[in-house]
């Protein structure tokens, strides 16, 4: 049973023992250290790529169910080989580079997009002793490295020599940059409580109670901000198909398009793991080993992302910007202020009766701040009902240019 619960550390130990006996004594210790490190890196760098295949399958099946249809079910049992078929198809597709594109930037952009996303998996703790690196600035590293994606999106949009791509890139930069700030400040609430940016220590801090109980408001802000950062559906207007074709990757085809898609889903997977680590006590849980618990949580959070995608319609750009600057930003500052006061008042850990108090404060603040958005309870012009509706429909098109 030990092997089941501590699979990866034990595998590493066994492999180190085998290497030490197999290699001659003249080989120094650091070589073995390096070889082991490289092997674990190979595992971790392939983890998002395999995980993305599962996520794409899961999203298509779930969306199918939400929309009262079957989803992919032809390739393999239950359509489980569909992502493999898609991968083969996308690899062998013709690679079109249109006239007038800036060839160097056009080709580098997918690489710049994917590399930072793969990097964020290096610091996530997958279990008790299962992590590649134990950075003391873990969470800051993740946010900083994934912010590079904004540049990649702009590179893709600018070099494409396409108006739609440029529009998509402009929207992307405005949106990603705006939601970066509520995201960072929501993380700040967790850092204030735990007193560390090290992801392993943040998980250790939640061994008794997950932080979502003490940070309900912070969790909501983080979730909304991250769905905007990852272009998930209510905020996916940088690639809104009905307005600007496909946004910044309009001109991409074949594997380059696949890499953008891969980066998007890998970021989703990585940030689901970050949400699990920050708020849902990471790999800790009863019964199952840590690495399995983390993936149960990751796919649970991913299911919520799919659910919001299936439920909510797309926002307009002014609503998106107003939500970031007039709603989430003040709310996240208030959240940090309340959390900081709580941490200073109760020096030896927060008492448990604060949990309902925090939830009530969070709900009250959301209700009050909602007025700042100035939408007056409606997000767009509502078409009237009854005879007024008929009049509105029968009104001459073009609206009075006479």
């Amino acid at each position: 049973m030990d092997w089941f619960y501590e699979l990866w550390p034990k595998l590493g130990e066994a492999f180190r023992g085998w290497l030490e006996s197999a290699l001659p004594d003249s080989i120094e210790g650091w070589v073995i250290y390096l070889v082991l490190g490289l092997l674990s890196m190979l595992v971790i760098v392939n983890l998002p790529i395999v995980g993305v295949m599962a996520m794409i399958y899961m999203e298509r099946r779930l969306l199918g169910r939400f929309q009262n249809r079957l989803g992919p079910n032809r390739v393999g049992p239950f359509g489980i080989l569909q992502p493999v078929a898609d991968a083969i198809k996308i690899m062998t597709k013709e690679d079109i580079v249109p006239n007038g594109v800036d060839r160097i930037v056009f080709n580098i952009a997918p690489i710049v997009m994917l590399t930072p996303i793969l990097l964020m998996f290096a610091v996530i703790p997958y279990g008790g002793d299962t992590f590649l690196t134990n950075l003391n600035v873990g969470i800051l590293f993740i946010v900083a490295i994934t912010a590079v994606d904004t540049i990649a999106i702009f590179m893709a949009g600018w070099s494409s020599n396409n108006k739609y791509a440029l529009f998509g890139a402009m929207r992307a930069v405005a949106q990603l940059v705006s939601y970066e700030i509520p995201l960072l400040i929501a993380i700040l609430g967790v850092v204030v409580i735990t007193g560390t940016m090290n992801l392993n220590e943040i998980v250790a801090h939640q061994s008794s109670l997950p932080l979502i109980l003490f940070q309900p408001l912070g969790f909501v802000i983080f979730f909304v901000a991250i769905s905007a950062e990852l272009n998930r559906s209510p905020f996916d207007l940088l690639e809104a198909d009905s307005e600007i074709i496909a946004g910044f990757h309009t001109e991409y085809s074949g594997m380059k398009f696949g890499m953008f898609q891969l980066a998007e889903f890998a970021a989703l997977m990585g940030y689901s793991a970050v949400i699990a680590t920050l708020y849902l006590s990471g790999w800790e849980g009863p019964g199952l080993p840590g690495y399995l618990w983390l993936f149960v949580k990751v796919f649970f959070i991913f299911g919520i992302f799919v659910w919001t995608r299936a439920t909510l319609p797309r926002l307009r750009i002014d609503q998106v910007m107003a939500l970031a600057w007039k709603f989430l930003l003040p709310l996240s500052f208030l959240n940090v202020a309340i959390t900081a006061v709580e941490v200073v008042v109760w020096e030896n850990g927060l008492p448990e009766w604060l949990i309902p108090v925090n939830i009530v404060i969070g709900a009250g603040l959301v209700a009050i701040m909602h007025r700042g958005l100035n939408f007056q309870g409606q997000t767009r012009q509502v078409v009237p009902s009854g005879p007024e509706r008929l009049a509105a429909i029968n009104r001459p098109v073009g609206g009075g240019t006479e």
Partner: protein, 123 residues
């Protein structure tokens, strides 16, 4: 701690290698004959919903983007100051709380000014 950053450095090389190989493998496949390559003048045109492309693509865009970029820089720099404070809050105690309260208050004056001047409006 330093070894951890070394690992990150090696991992960066690996994480660059994988996307590069993802570009190179399809490129190599086109020599084997698995992947088609027949460009035609129409296919290589800039995509514009099936119409002939009109004008250049580097067009004017809404100046509002510039406002948001400016505001972003201000708040992003602020967050850089907030993170070390958050880590050491349990040692700074009340002093740290008041100090950071004043800092954020000064910034909030600027934020309120931006809101009042309608820099946060899109239209």
């Amino acid at each position: 701690m330093l070894a951890d950053y070394g690992y990150i450095g090696i991992y960066l090389l690996l994480a660059t290698l994988i996307p590069v190989s993802m570009l190179l493998i399809p490129w190599a496949l086109s020599f084997v004959g698995v992947k088609p390559h027949n460009p035609t003048p129409v296919k290589l045109e800039t995509y514009e919903s099936g119409m002939r492309t009109i004008g250049g693509s580097w067009i004017r865009f809404n100046f509002r983007y510039y406002y948001f970029a400016l505001l972003f820089v201000i708040f992003d720099v602020e967050v850089v100051f907030l993170f070390p404070w958050a880590v050491y809050l349990d040692k700074l105690k009340l002093f740290g709380l008041i100090e950071m309260g004043i800092f954020i208050l000064i910034l909030m004056v600027g934020y309120a000014y931006a809101w009042r001047k309608k820099a946060l409006e899109w239209s």
